[in-house]
Symmetry: C2
Subunit: 258 residues, 2 copies
């Protein structure tokens, strides 16, 4: 078996998220597996580093899959084949052979996500699929103060939605956030999150909470208490998926994949 | 009559250009006139500063129209009304009342257009509607040298397509280009043109010619001879509309519209 790592770009607008569910759903994983099945003549399972939700975009998602030895396409042939048949809102921007033990999700050391807000009373045609519009003025300094309380290693139970799962409470809700940068450029506010991993809906609930700090509804210091409470209902709203982009998946050494 | 100036943003992908033709065509001018007709209960003619072609985008096109005195919507009400009913690939980002003599096209002193090339062998999902993909490497320094020959006041007959018109030769083909900047940022090449006006297809033929300089097919110095020849067939190809964006319309005083 050869192990192939691909780097993917996609506009999430039309898709019901990364994860394959039943065959009637339009998911990224399902779409890629169907195409690679056609290419190889066998069933292929594609592992993605991040299980992006419906509507979430990716600038550089990574994924890997195993190919039987009788399938002898070179990585550049796989890239060309996939780009020929994928719709134009999905692209493979890199493909390489990696050691057999490499797993795109289990080996990931961290991820960078961006969330974009358009802080404006008028719409923006070119950002309509990629930004959440907030009309009320936002205090960026207050949001930065609040964000500092979220950095570090914490139990983020207050900042996640319950997944429908058999054992919802068994998994650790502890994650480490290395940095949250908030930049304002004209009427665009860009949140950059780097962390070792993020829970279901975690970034979108953090942005919802920070936005309520930005409008003055929540004091920056209150975010520490919300985090400590572990209660979802104390945090802010879940903001729309379209503002969120998976920008990069980090592995242990820059440029290495194992 | 009140004279209203609006600033417009649009993604040109779905439209057959700015200029109203017959009523079966999906043009920006036609769409805006129909909507303002509904708002005012009377026939409204909208004058745009630039007659952008099919597929060309605008970050800030300007236009103006006259409203009868019995139509008493304030500019902010016009903006809100239009944004409520326009499709999400067109937005009005500003509206103001201007002196009766103001004409968006006749008073324009110049325009800024951008043309974007993605110089890459792999597609880019988020630029697929806004950039022309060129796989071959482009020599940016050579393109800058060639662009210098196009700056200044010249007869640009070699860099325009014939419009179907009754008197095609009567109009002057002399225009002034103030600057052509070419910036490369990773695999994106951005051409920024500022001029007092541009002929039909002029920017797209200039970019086509500069791209042929970039690949080495045309020497930079040859562009002076192409310009002097006045013959369209000596210049380069017409590049795709989707890379072109009308970025700004300049009037005599910054911030003033008359």
């Amino acid at each position: 078996m050869r192990n192939i790592k691909i780097t993917l770009q996609y506009e999430g607008t039309r898709y019901q998220g990364w994860q394959r569910q039943d065959s009637t759903e339009n998911t990224l994983q399902g779409k890629l597996e169907a195409l690679l099945g056609k290419m190889s003549g066998t069933r292929i399972e594609v592992q993605g580093a991040g299980r992006t939700d419906a509507g979430v975009h990716a600038l550089a998602q990574t994924a890997n899959f195993k190919l039987p030895d009788n399938v002898n396409h070179k990585p550049e042939e796989i890239l060309a084949y996939m780009n020929r048949y994928l719709p134009d809102d999905i692209a493979v921007i890199a493909a390489e052979e990696v050691p057999e033990r490499f797993h795109s999700r289990l080996n990931a050391k961290g991820k960078t996500y961006h969330y974009r807000i358009l802080n404006s009373a008028v719409p923006h045609v070119f950002l309509r699929r990629y930004a959440w519009i907030v009309e009320n003025g936002l205090d960026v300094e207050a949001m930065r103060k609040a964000a500092a309380f979220l950095c570090g290693t914490h139990d983020f139970s207050a900042f996640t939605s319950h997944r429908k799962s058999k054992n919802p409470n068994k998994k650790s809700k502890v994650r480490t956030i290395y940095t949250i940068d908030i930049d304002k450029n004209q009427d665009e506010i860009l949140f950059r999150f780097i962390g070792n991993g993020f829970l279901y809906h975690m970034i979108r609930i953090m942005v919802g909470t920070l936005t309520e700090v930005g409008t003055g509804k929540i004091k920056p210091e209150a975010v520490a208490a919300i985090l400590a409470s572990g209660q979802r209902e104390n945090a802010g709203v879940l903001v729309p998926a379209k503002g969120l982009t998976l920008v990069e998946v980090h592995y242990s050494e820059e440029g290495k994949t194992d």
